[in-house]
């Protein structure tokens, strides 16, 4: 039983991270039907910026929580800037192009950003400082769920609630929903669609960067390639839940995280990815539009 709880906790942690990245995928997809392949790279850049900032701050004598907050904040700002620039350079000129063009452009951008970080920094793994403090009240159950896990779960949940509030109750959220439903119509009633799309990329990047900082601190090392697998997994999660659907992305991410954790714990850690994709294929066969996705009727 204890083993099961342990696996569940680690699955939930994974799922929460995937959810943070998957939200960016699903939001962008919902609005411009683009698989933003470079999204995983934004997450990686977020982690790198946090690492660099925390390294500099440590040397200049800061410590503890202040580093976590400052590094996290700067990472988030930079990720947002990268997301914004990415959309402007690689996707905006292709707004009306055939479906495959932006996807190829995204794959190109992903390669570019990976190699940019590789050349500017290092191909090796870098040690990421453990920024998340240890709470005393978590001691008794630390073998099941420690402080870092708790922080990840809470941060991820808070971010998700924040996103929901933003989308449901603010002006920009309303504009985003309108653009998602019908871009032409939204434009006609005075929504600045370009700004809405930029904003979507910025919000998605912010969430991804939060994920990047948390993972870096949790796992303890990062390199330029971490974005790829995380991106693929998060995208899988988004599809699993029904792409374009925000609660679906979270649900899909948690299902995926738990599946991986159980598969790794009970069967073999070498095959956890096989199970992750296996679940995806299985669910897509049974429900071709994902767990929460609506079956879209095609009109002729």
């Amino acid at each position: 039983m204890e083993y099961f709880l342990e696996l569940s906790s680690s699955g939930l942690v994974r799922g929460s991270i995937y959810a943070l990245i998957a939200l960016g995928y699903t939001m962008v997809y919902g609005i411009i039907q683009l698989i933003n392949f470079a999204h995983g790279e934004i997450y990686m850049i977020g982690a790198f910026v946090a690492l660099i900032v925390s390294g500099v701050l440590t040397i200049y004598g800061f410590s503890g929580v202040s580093i976590l907050i400052l590094a996290g904040l700067i990472a988030v700002i930079y990720a947002a800037a990268y997301g914004y620039t990415l959309e402007k350079i690689a996707y905006r000129p292709l707004r009306n192009a055939p479906r495959l063009s932006p996807l190829i452009s995204a794959i190109g951008m992903s390669l570019f950003l990976q190699n940019y970080v590789l050349l500017a920094q290092t191909p090796d793994f870098l040690r990421f400082p453990a920024l998340i403090p240890d709470f005393e009240f978590m001691e008794p159950i630390a073998h099941i769920m420690g402080s870092p896990e708790l922080v990840i779960l809470v941060t991820s949940a808070v971010s998700r609630v924040g996103l929901t509030v933003l989308i449901k109750y603010t002006r920009i959220g309303k504009a985003m929903r309108a653009t998602q439903q019908d871009m032409t119509m939204a434009r006609l009633v005075g929504v600045n669609v370009d700004n809405v799309i930029s904003m979507t990329f910025i919000i998605g990047s912010v969430l991804a960067a939060i994920g990047g900082v948390l993972v870096g601190s949790y796992i303890g090392q990062i390199n330029f390639y971490i974005g790829f697998m995380a991106g693929v997994k998060a995208f899988t999660a988004a599809v699993l839940g029904g792409i374009g659907n925000i609660p679906g992305a979270v649900l899909g991410a948690l299902v995926l995280g738990l599946t991986e954790a159980y598969a790794a714990g009970y069967i073999s850690s070498a095959y956890e990815d096989v199970f992750a994709f296996g679940v995806l294929v299985l669910i897509l066969i049974l429900r071709p539009s994902g767990l929460l996705g609506k079956a879209v009727k095609q009109k002729v």
Binding site: G108, F112, L119, T236, L280, P288
Partner: protein, 410 residues
């Protein structure tokens, strides 16, 4: 002009800000040292300034071109060089003869290293032609194409190491295995639409690699399979040099074969069904095309070529391990198809040669080649989305009927 410079300055400042932490600062978390590389900041500033001017100029030209196309002036534009090359027999024939001559004497004048690279490039030509059927003609986005390549390579590797099968028996078996996997994997995803398809195929690609890596008994895991024989010629003993040359000619034959088959197929019944499926699935099915059979056909056919190419790849390297079959290879083949111009056979060949040979001969820039590769992919999509050599749809000369309706729809 002043305005232009002002805007470029702003862009330059933005990129200096953007690249600051990654380009300028370098921390060593073990020794707690920070290295400040201010010179990089200067390079970024200058680079961003110049590039932004070039970018704006290129964008203006692109807009002009699009506007012209919208006004229907494209008819008057001279056909591009690529098209003229294909259509004008006066140019076409001598070029073809010259090309054939170069191809024939190539391995005799250059050294074994060059021939070997050329063989690799030709393998990617075949892969490109295969994926061209799935993606270019049938419009089924496949991000895990490398899985079928791996199936072919490991078919030969395993059959050889366990049962001592030779190259010539394994070649068709590899192709068939590829096609079989294409059908098996195609079945569950028949109903999926574009992007769902993309991620599932990507998943299949990763699964193939993981299974190969972890199934030690059959595939020898991450260590890979070594001592795979090169293609034989009626049991004749061959030095490495002759064997490479021989593989080269074999590859040329195979490329010609692939060109012939795919070209013929394009205008066949199933080829038209593929293209119709790509354009509009619902209309296509409504016209009585069997969707399942057509889609599976496209998968199987594309995978067949990947299987063949895999067998040759294994025999060329004489050694295979899972690391040759990553997502990068899938992305590379996909870029070959897209950059060549979707559905265009000549385009695929040119793109494959450029993309494989360019990095090999630009070893000096080896560090930057993936960076440039990524940038080229983005730029190609923005400034030349139709690919290097656009696919020319075969037109049937018939009565030209222009109705009001067609005009209104534009």
């Amino acid at each position: 002009m002043v305005d232009n410079i002002k805007r470029s300055l702003l862009v330059s400042i933005w990129f200096v800000f953007l690249t600051f932490p990654l380009m300028v600062v370098k921390v060593n978390t073990l020794k707690n040292i920070v290295e400040w590389r201010w010179i990089n900041m200067l390079w970024v500033a200058i680079g961003a300034f110049v590039l932004s001017i070039v970018w704006r100029w290129a964008m203006e030209r692109r807009q002009l071109k699009n506007k012209k196309a919208e006004q229907g002036e494209e008819e008057s534009v001279l056909p591009g060089f690529g098209q003229r090359l294909l259509e004008d027999p006066k140019i076409f024939k001598p070029v073809l003869i010259a090309l054939a001559l170069v191809t024939l004497v190539f391995p005799l004048v250059v050294d074994i290293y060059q021939t070997n690279i050329m063989v690799l490039a030709l393998i990617f030509v075949v892969l490109g032609l295969g994926l061209n059927v799935t993606v270019g003609l049938a419009g089924l986005l496949d991000l895990g194409y490398v899985a079928f390549f791996a199936v072919g390579a490991y078919t030969y590797g395993v059959l050889n190491s366990f049962f001592g099968f030779g190259f010539w028996i394994s070649l068709p078996l590899g192709g068939l295995m590829g096609a079989l996997f294409g059908i098996v994997l195609g079945f569950p995803i028949l109903r999926l639409r574009g992007d769902y398809l993309a991620i599932v195929t990507l998943g299949f690609g990763s699964i193939a690699k993981i299974v190969i890596e972890n199934w030690e008994e059959v595939f020898n895991g991450a260590k890979g399979i070594a001592n795979i024989p090169r293609p034989g010629f009626f049991g004749a003993e061959m030095s490495i040099h002759t064997a490479t040359t021989y593989t080269y000619y074999l590859m040329i034959l195979m490329v010609l074969f692939a060109i012939f088959i795919t070209n013929r197929l394009k205008d066949s019944r199933i080829g038209r069904a593929w293209m119709a499926l790509r354009e509009d699935e619902i209309a296509c099915v409504a016209m009585g095309v069997d969707m399942a059979r057509t889609k599976l056909g496209a998968y199987a056919f594309g995978a067949f070529w990947a299987g063949l190419a895999g067998v040759i790849f294994a025999s060329r390297n004489t050694y295979i391990n899972p690391n040759s079959f990553t997502f990068m290879e899938s992305a590379l083949v996909l870029s070959i198809v897209v950059m060549g111009g979707m559905g265009s056979i000549i385009g695929v060949i040119v793109a494959a040669l450029v993309l494989i040979l360019m990095p090999e001969y630009l070893r000096a820039f080896a560090e930057y080649r993936m960076l440039m590769f990524g940038a080229v992919m983005v730029l190609m999509m923005i400034f030349r989305p139709e690919g290097l050599i656009a696919n020319v749809r075969r037109k049937y000369a018939g009565r030209k009927v222009v109705t009001e309706d067609a005009n209104a729809r534009g």
